[in-house]
């Protein structure tokens, strides 16, 4: 009787222990499968969301060219179909890559994309569309988070190999997976002249072809001095791909002008002194400037658009207001501003009007690095004739195993 009871107790204990163990094991398998399904759903959502953003222009369709908040989010260029994206809608996205810039003289903060040291795209916070608004417009707030990035497919690097007599520059063109061999290069060298009452520039054009490694070396005999100021813009194109690269050398690094986009619909750009942004208590230091808007023609020449108030001077510190210029066009272009302090100290800054004219990259949205699972998808797109890759990173803010 006793042995039977002991047998019974041992059997029940072992059975219960085994049952609990197996419930745990089966549960783990089922949980893993459920998580896999959720991840698959996020992946599908990422693809759909990316197409939604890229294949609709938003409401109103021209929201990229005014300062009003859109009522529908979309980035397609309203004048085209398929994956052709508006250069101006991208310009209105609040950049997640650069630190916002505060300008005390307007009391405003500016979304910041700065490439190199002298190429700026600073858009006022009243014109820029923020991430939260985009989530609301897409109807995914508190459900999903995303980061949208637009990077040029062709990276064009320009390296100064020899500074003077002659100036020697090496241009390298790379795709996302391969050097761009035998590609045609069309370039324009902008040489800044500081001798007149206001800084000015002249443009020289040329063409070349890249070698097997995607590079080509150019020589400019006219640049005799290592202190002369210039900028070069190179367009590399092959097989339907187009990339843009630029490089500049200035003779005055510290004092320069910074263009700030104040109102997109009116094309109003403020010309600020760099000291006003870099110093809390800026010293006085006047610089003269000459602003020109150029846009790219089909044969890769730059065509000038006349600007009112193109010449001026700005100073830093209290009592010296910023200057204002108005860009009179809805066509993407480049604002070139030459500046000078003296006949030997000066330089040049550039600002794209529409991100494609200088192939600026754009990052918009949240930070995916702290998320547990991020689905990504990519599309090949055109922005104002320049080839870009659009990438979305999407993560879930609801459900199991979500880090927020």
């Amino acid at each position: 009787m006793v042995s039977s009871t002991v047998d019974h107790m041992v059997a029940v204990t072992v059975f219960l222990a085994a049952t609990l163990l197996f419930i745990g094991l089966f549960n783990q398998t089922i949980q893993t499968a459920v998580i896999y399904q959720r991840h698959r759903a996020i992946s599908t959502k990422a693809s759909d969301l990316l197409d939604n953003m890229l294949l609709t222009p938003g409401i109103p369709i021209d929201w990229g060219q005014n300062d009003d908040l859109p009522t529908g989010f979309g980035l397609q260029d309203p004048e085209f179909t398929q994956y052709k994206i508006s250069s101006f809608s991208l310009m209105r996205l609040n950049s997640a890559s650069g630190t916002a810039v505060y300008y005390p003289k307007t009391g405003m903060t500016y979304s910041n994309i700065t490439i190199g040291t002298k190429n700026f795209l600073l858009v006022s916070e009243t014109s820029a569309l923020n991430y939260t608004t985009a989530l609301d417009l897409l109807g995914i707030r508190n459900q999903y988070g995303f980061q949208l990035s637009f990077n040029p497919i062709i990276t064009v690097s320009i390296i100064e190999e020899q500074a003077e007599d002659p100036l020697r520059l090496r241009i390298e063109a790379y795709g996302t997976g391969f050097p761009l061999a035998h590609a045609r290069v069309t370039y324009c060298l902008i040489s800044v002249s500081l001798g007149g009452s206001h800084p000015d520039y002249i443009v020289d054009y040329g063409t070349a072809v890249t070698a097997e490694d995607g590079s080509v070396t150019l020589e400019f005999a006219d640049i005799q001095s290592s202190t002369s100021t210039y900028s070069i813009i190179a367009y590399v194109h092959a097989g339907g791909l187009l990339g843009v690269g630029y490089h500049e050398r200035v003779s005055m690094e510290e004092q320069y002008v910074i263009p700030l986009i104040d109102d997109i619909s009116e094309g109003r750009v403020l010309i600020a002194h760099s000291f006003d942004i870099e110093y809390d208590d800026p010293p006085n230091a006047e610089v003269k400037y000459n602003a020109t808007l150029v846009y790219l023609t089909e044969d890769f020449n730059l065509r000038e658009m006349p600007l009112e108030n193109a010449y001026g001077h700005v100073n830093s510190g209290e009592g010296f207001p910023y200057e204002v210029i108005n860009i009179p066009t809805d066509t993407p272009g480049i604002l070139i501003i030459t500046y000078k302090k003296s006949t030997v100290e000066g330089g040049l800054v550039m600002m794209p009007w529409g991100i494609s004219s200088l192939a600026f990259p754009v990052v918009f949205g949240g930070d995916p690095s702290i998320r547990e699972w991020v689905a990504t998808d990519i599309r090949q797109i055109m922005v104002g004739g320049v080839t870009y890759q659009a990438k979305i990173a999407l993560w879930d803010l609801e459900g199991y195993q979500v880090v927020d």
Binding site: S3, D7, H8, V10, A11, V12, V14, F15, A18, T19, F22, L25, F26, T29, T32, A33, Y36, H39, R40, I42, S43, S47, D51, Q82, Y83, I153, I154, Y174, G175, T176, G177, F178, P179, L180, A181, H182, A183, H237, A238, G239, G240, L241, W373, A375, T376, D377, I378, R379, Q380, I381, M382, G385, T387, Q389
Partner: protein, 437 residues
């Protein structure tokens, strides 16, 4: 002891079940769980390569090694480094029995096998030697009369076209509809309007069966000759009566693009110091009597001033299935949802011998937000005048007027065949991942 053995047996069975279940419940790898959409990547890559027609040129020049080398460099440069590809160009042919055949002409690839998880997209490249045309049938070409008049009078102002000018709407209308008519005449001023109202063509065109589009919204231009009695009676309602009679006489189709038709008359020279009660000079308010007078004239009633309001605010309205179908056919895509604050009462149908030739918007109760009305006089079988009234609120979408007229007349589109032998080539780009099975 026996029970312990039984339990051990049960444990062995459950273990077997778990192993068996685990064997069949194979979880997919991360690549299958969150795949990159290779089909869309492939499609967008093909579009990119053809953005300057490089792909189309290469597809028809498969013997040109230079072009294909450049294309392969571009293809390799545009794809992520872990993506492998196979691009094949097919010639499109037809067998003797009429079946389409796809014959591979040229292939470039950077891998022998793309694996089972690969995906592909196709793209139809057109030959640069071939132009694909769409030739529209001319409205009224068979029945006689294929004239489109677009009111573009420089000496008149519009109302309820806020944000546009009548001239800009006229230009848009010209671009949209002129291919469907033999003669398209822009009526440049009220004097020219007076000339056609008097029955004299402007450029030898046929007046009979013409279509007249009034781009001035709720206003209608009035020539100097009509700015006198008797047309000025009842704030120029009598002029609308005259218009109705002329529409009936020449069997015109009169198109009102927005709002309450014939609510104002405009002539900037005659009404230079007068305004429409809303601050727009060069205009006089006719009010509701204008539309009633027009319908009386259309149905050849004797003139009797009637100021009854015959429209209603019916809110959001939707395009009819007919309009949506032809929206696709003609490639005109206005919003399916519109707001109608001037929907016409269907009581006008019996009062003025009108029948609905086309409902552009679905009726709401007894009101018609946008319709084409055909007038067939009592005792007659032939149509004498057509009236398009889009009773929408401002500001007008001029494409709706174009869509309404095309849906009513249904001119055919003759498209050239895209798959004609030698005119197109099929390009398929298949993408896979490095290392995928």
């Amino acid at each position: 002891m026996m029970r312990t053995i039984e339990v051990l047996v049960v444990i062995i069975i459950i273990t077997g079940a778990f192993i068996g279940a685990s064997f069949f419940a194979v979880l997919p790898g991360p690549r299958q769980v969150s795949p990159m959409n290779l089909r869309r990547l492939s499609y967008t890559t093909l579009q990119l390569l053809d953005s300057n027609y490089d792909l189309s040129i290469a597809a028809f020049d498969t013997d040109n090694a230079t072009i294909w080398q450049e294309l392969q460099v571009a293809l390799s440069a545009s794809l992520p480094p872990n993506v492998i590809y196979n691009l094949t160009v097919y010639n499109i042919g037809t067998s003797s029995s009429g079946i389409e055949l796809y014959d591979p002409k040229f292939t470039i690839a950077n891998a022998e096998n793309l694996g089972a998880s690969s995906d592909a997209a196709s793209y139809l490249a057109a030959s640069s030697n071939v132009t694909f045309n769409v030739i529209p049938e001319k409205i009224g070409e068979q029945s006689g009369g294929s004239t489109l008049y677009i009111l573009n009078c420089s000496d008149a102002n519009g109302w309820w076209i806020t944000g546009y000018t009548a001239q800009s709407l006229a230009q848009d209308m010209y671009k949209l509809l002129s291919p469907y008519f033999k003669d398209t005449i822009m009526v440049q001023n009220t004097a020219e309007l007076g000339q056609i109202l008097a029955g004299t063509p402007l450029n030898g065109e046929l007046l009979q069966n013409a279509v007249v589009i009034n781009t001035y919204g709720e206003a209608v231009p009035i020539p100097n000759a009509y700015c006198t009695t008797p047309y000025s009676d009842n704030s120029y309602a009598r002029y609308s009566y005259e218009l109705g009679q002329i529409v009936s006489q020449y069997n015109w189709t009169w198109a009102s693009i927005v709002g309450y038709p014939f609510y104002y008359v405009s002539n900037t020279a005659v009404f230079e110091t007068e305004q429409n009660d809303w601050g727009i000079y060069g205009m006089r308010r006719t009010s509701t009597g204008g539309l009633n007078a027009f319908l009386q004239g259309l149905d050849n009633h004797s003139y009797n001033y009637d100021s009854d309001w015959i429209t209603s605010d019916v809110g959001v309205v939707t395009l009819t299935n007919d309009a949506k179908y032809y929206s696709n056919y003609y490639g005109i895509y206005p919003s399916e949802f519109q707001t109608s604050t001037r929907a016409l009462s269907n009581s006008i149908l019996s009062s003025y011998h009108l029948s609905v030739g086309l409902n552009v918007f679905n009726p709401v109760g007894n009101y018609l937000p946008g319709s084409l009305y055909s007038h067939v006089a009592s005792g007659s079988t032939s149509t004498t005048g057509v009236f398009l009234a889009l009773g929408l609120t401002r500001t007008p979408d001029i494409r709706l007027t174009g869509l309404s007229l095309l849906t009513y007349y249904k001119p055919r589109l003759y498209r050239s065949e895209y798959t004609t032998y030698g005119t197109s080539r099929l390009v398929i780009l298949q993408l896979g991942f490095l290392g995928a099975e």
